[in-house]
Symmetry: C2
Amino acid sequence: MLNKFCKKPLYEVTRTMANVAMGVEKAEMVIRNAKLVNVCTAEIQEGIDVAITQGRIALVGDASHCIGDDTQIIDASGQYIAPGFMDAHIHVESAMITVGEYGRAVVPRGTTGIFMDPHEICNVCGPEGVKAMIDDGKRTPLKAMSNVPSCVPAVAGFEDTGSHIGPEEVREMMTWDGIMGLGEMMSFPNVLSAEPNIHGELAETLKADQVITGHFSIPDTAAGLNAYIASGVRCCHESTRAVDVLEKMRHGMYALMRYGSAWHDMPVIIRAILDNDVEDRFACLISDDTHPDTLISEGHMDHIIRCAVKEGLDPIKAIQYVTINPATCFRMDHEMGSITPGKCADIVFFDDLNDIRITRTIIDGDIVAENGKMVAELSEPDFPASVYDTMHVGETITADSFRIKAPDGKDTVSTRVIEIIPNHVGNYEKIMDLNVTDGFVEADPENDIMKMAVFERHHNTGTKGVGFVKGFGFKKGAMAQTVAHDAHNLLVAGTNDEDMALAANTLIECGGGLCAVADGKVLAIVPLPIAGLMNDLPAEEMADLVAKLDVAWKEMGCVINSPYMTMALIPLACLPELRLTNRGLVDCRTFSFADLFVE
Amino acid sequence: MLNKFCKKPLYEVTRTMANVAMGVEKAEMVIRNAKLVNVCTAEIQEGIDVAITQGRIALVGDASHCIGDDTQIIDASGQYIAPGFMDAHIHVESAMITVGEYGRAVVPRGTTGIFMDPHEICNVCGPEGVKAMIDDGKRTPLKAMSNVPSCVPAVAGFEDTGSHIGPEEVREMMTWDGIMGLGEMMSFPNVLSAEPNIHGELAETLKADQVITGHFSIPDTAAGLNAYIASGVRCCHESTRAVDVLEKMRHGMYALMRYGSAWHDMPVIIRAILDNDVEDRFACLISDDTHPDTLISEGHMDHIIRCAVKEGLDPIKAIQYVTINPATCFRMDHEMGSITPGKCADIVFFDDLNDIRITRTIIDGDIVAENGKMVAELSEPDFPASVYDTMHVGETITADSFRIKAPDGKDTVSTRVIEIIPNHVGNYEKIMDLNVTDGFVEADPENDIMKMAVFERHHNTGTKGVGFVKGFGFKKGAMAQTVAHDAHNLLVAGTNDEDMALAANTLIECGGGLCAVADGKVLAIVPLPIAGLMNDLPAEEMADLVAKLDVAWKEMGCVINSPYMTMALIPLACLPELRLTNRGLVDCRTFSFADLFVE
């Protein structure tokens, strides 16, 4: 498809490219004497010059004749150059920062392009939110190429989101300039069952000559995987076993190997390539979800490359997995992904092939980052007002909002409790006897049981679900968040109704985010005023805010890692066993609503 | 780009694909227990089933559950299956048969797709001729995907053709259904010099999101090659040295290695891959030009694969070079080029990986050839009348038409003679003293000098060029042809004016072709009534006719191989040194017209 992400389309500048390569016109920039990581032939070439004009590469070889008085010369002696890194599957919202700030964080790390799937903001703000992300991406030299979110809501019928995506929205959005494909098709059961609406989305994507990206997360490499791929899905990042990767590649599907902040699949699944004598043109490395602190302390694709090399992967292959392979996956290899004539001049520099640390990033022929810092200027974010106005809870929340009436005349009541499993996405349904006080069922901090509520916050429906959760270890206080996947409703958990009300109202007031409350005081807050998902602060400051929240939670007695992540999954009604949405408890083994109390 | 060459677009049938893969609906065909040449991972997988429906592959693996009462089962035990072969650069006209008959010849050999560049018919009939070729291709299951010819005429200003292609024609034709890219850009000097008209064609192709195919035939891997690639050219079949292939691949250009009937570049240039430790995803094998007798006696891509394997190439790689690699070159790898779910079911069968002889060809899920014979029915050709009416010579040709008046009062005259070089495309300018008889310069068979004339035959301009040629060895008679590259005018050569007139009029009468005449009699004729380039006979019959012409030529004293090919190049005004077009002698070293007589 036509690339709208470079400084100028090639068709406008072919004559200039030819003239510069021939030396008739002079290059704007020449990189001299580099060690080129050639991802086309998988070799290192020494003593290579690169001539650049109009944001594109005019010549690779000896560029002496391309140099004029005004040519900027970069001496790359002793340095490697490689194509800029691309992340073929990433949710920017996971980092809780804007696309612009994401660019500021990752471009100095060598990332020059991302294929983002903004399905979080889409669940809150709909297509307008996707548009806002695409527009925000224009503030940064990072090529923020967007997919159309495919599964909004994630689990239709069991929750209420701010918006809805169907075949008609897909058809319309595929015509947008910033769009490159359909976002992760999480509704794989509906793909396999030939459900017409989901297949309508696939059809509209294929008609638009775009790429369908996948999410096939079950251990099936037979009928189901074939049905999924045969329906047109071109890539998938949900492999957890080496055999998943191997069979996806064998079936012509790009296997995107994930190494995110929380999900470290890559070391396991890369054995598919390291332990088998197979060609790997269908292999990519991706991040999926990255916390702001990971971006700051570890990096982005550079970090993932280093980790893959540590596992034993040849570094040239690792670089192919984040350059020419993802570019080919998205059928953009004629525009990006290699340092070859005509391509966008997206180039990174480093000194050690076995420990890649980026020292300079060039995008579209401009030096945009050096020595770990962005040198390109970013303009201020300019989101539409609507994305700052997303807290529409249909009731005034007080302590009474959290009272749960017991069945008449009982002292204890047999209750369905959600028991979390630390460091895992799944949970258990646990039947427990809870105490009744004055006719109401209460939290029981001594037995590590908190009360929990999910308020619909998009359309003032006033709907809410209530329940109990076990396993966080909180001794006091409450916490609340609006990240709560995938409907991003207002989730509150706590040991007492008063703190829960304060936590909820704190977030309603600041437009969403994460907070911790105890003894009637706000201990820490991470405001996420953009859709209740993001803040326009730099990644460093966001990482600091999250760290303070961590401290507060620990003080309150929390015993698990990344509690806000684990908490955020509690409403995600496509994971086993028991989930709580604004419509109530959902048994995800049977996909049916469950009563709070067991008769 | 959207594929219009399969039975049904994937977007119409995704639900059926899913249902068949899941076994909910049953497959139309299942291939069982094959040895799969997996071009994605470059390995052989044994015991593989393939389920097919709607012309596409639904499942690869164990297809037991896809089999129903009506499923056609093919037991492939002991047999290999591979994706159907594709030829990424081919001129059908070279074989002098129609696209339909070309399909009949090559499909049983395992060819399921060709990217044809019909620039010969375009020189004669213009875009309407290209359209006729595309339409004719629909008679055959062969996927005859067409490029838009880019260089019509081949050498503007020195010859007259039937038509002209410029940026506007390219823009218009890129919207046609059967089009996949721009044909070989032979005007590489104009690409390198940034000539606006040629770059206009490149720009229109890129704007249409299509692929530009190349023809870069000079030994330059530096500035010129970079300028050519930077202008957007994605592949090139004109490599004659191993370094050409290596540097093209390194620069991200698909290196199409040629093994045609007359041009055997592959054994030399494939050393680029065999002798270097480089990855080869940019390597392809192609035929360019194939004579009908080669198709019959040797084969097509199967023959080229066998030859490459003989040179030492791994057979799995050889198959990649004619399947997934060309598909990716044309950005159609999501539709064809591998046996993976969702792709068109274009599949070939064979028994021996090291001596590939195709036993069965499936296209779009239908068995179209078995045991070397097409089993699919071909409808009759239905060319528009205009392509049969292309002999428009603006004078009545008699013996007098060939008389060449000498300068007054001379007995001998110093003359520029074209001396051919057997088995090479180049020739020499030779200055010779020719005898004058009754005021006219005559042929001199005893010294192997024939008279030659080129008549414009498209627009009745009545223009002609005359000259002399040396080296064929003819003792008597005359020969004529309308293939004469690239303007395809009427070329006549002979030892006497009467036989030359008979040869010319014989072809005018039959609508063009090749013929041999001696002593006032037609000895042999290959009628090419379609544009003076093709006949709708099967390849076998065309090969027989050509063989009879060969015999006639030998009887007349001809001493060189493929005399009609060598003769056909005499008007091609982009090859050194001296050429004869309908406008006269052209010195191709200086690109200027030359006088016949030297003062």
